[in-house]
């Protein structure tokens, strides 16, 4: 495919910058989701430990105290689940944008005969 009009190869640099920025934004959004996921896994582990703990610790723990502790952890888990939903909803369009600009950058680089991965 040839161009019937003059091109400005410098435009590819501008696109590359946009691609880098959108990739960084997408990466940050994914990092946030991973971090929330990690925190929720820790809470789930604590809940599991509490239920599985048949040792003296549990026996020593008053059932009211145990229920309170469980309720607190479940609440924390729910909050983190909600937070993850919100983070995912925010991350989806960011990721979509990054993929879109990535695809466009690739086709423009290939059109100019430039390695898109360079």
């Amino acid at each position: 495919m040839k161009s019937p009009h003059p091109l400005d190869p410098g435009r590819l640099d501008a696109l590359r910058e946009q691609r880098a920025a959108s990739r960084a934004a997408s990466s940050a959004a994914q990092d946030k989701i991973r971090e929330i996921h990690r925190q929720r896994s820790l809470v789930e582990r604590d809940i599991g430990l509490l239920w599985a703990d048949t040792t003296q610790n549990r026996r020593a723990m008053d059932s009211r105290e145990m229920n309170a502790k469980l309720a607190e952890l479940e609440l924390k888990k729910s909050a983190l689940t909600e937070e993850m939903k919100e983070a995912t909803a925010k991350a989806d369009p960011v990721t979509e944008r990054a993929q879109s600009i990535g695809t466009l950058y690739r086709s423009c680089a290939e059109f100019l005969g430039v390695d898109p991965n360079a």
């Binding site: 161009s3 019937p4 009009h5 435009r11 600009i101 695809t103 466009l104 086709s107 423009c108 059109f111």
Partner: protein, 181 residues
């Protein structure tokens, strides 16, 4: 303070109206691009020229007849040995192949006539005409994409962040400023 607030409000209002104008213009040009791409599919799907259609149909019919004549090469295929005669007539070969083998020429002519009748007064589209229409359509799509790119760059200069389409034409995205409308 009141003046400053009014000034900020006016700036915001202006920014909103600029943003709306950019958004509307982009939506309009993108819709035009979609229409033009749809038109391209229509051009590609236009019926071929009548003589090409007749030629293709004739070749197909002749192939079918040739295959049938391999399956039923002699008139004896109409009959079976006397020992085989039972209450019903049962030829050695399926009737379609026999018909094609012995009435092949009439079948080919009939197919050609049917195709011509289907075209009627319409002569279809020659390959040259199709290529011409596609070239014209390509030029129109590129012009629309250049207009779109001009809007995007104008918006970027105004500080608005506009996402380009992922399937935008590289010739438009990489166009020199002098090429933009």
């Amino acid at each position: 303070m009141r003046e400053m607030t009014a000034s900020i409000a006016k700036t915001l209002s202006n920014a909103r109206s600029v943003s709306n104008v950019i958004g509307d213009s982009l939506a309009q040009i993108r819709s035009q691009i979609d229409d033009l791409k749809f038109r391209r599919d229509e051009i590609e799907a236009l019926p071929v020229a009548a003589e090409v259609a007749v030629d293709r149909a004739e070749k197909w019919a002749e192939r079918e007849v040739a295959q049938a004549r391999q399956a039923a090469p002699t008139p004896s295929y109409f009959s079976v040995s006397q020992k085989m005669w039972a209450e019903v007539y049962m030829p050695n070969c399926e009737p379609g192949a026999i018909l094609l083998a012995y009435m092949g020429e009439a079948f080919v002519e009939s197919v050609k006539m049917q195709v011509k009748a289907a075209y009627g007064d319409d002569r279809g589209t020659t390959e040259k005409q199709r290529l011409g229409l596609l070239a014209q359509n390509d030029a129109e799509i590129l012009a629309a994409e250049l207009a779109e790119e001009a809007i995007v760059r104008h918006a970027e200069r105004q500080g608005f962040k506009i996402d380009r389409r992922r399937d935008a034409d590289p010739r438009a995205v990489l166009a020199h400023e002098s090429a933009l409308p």
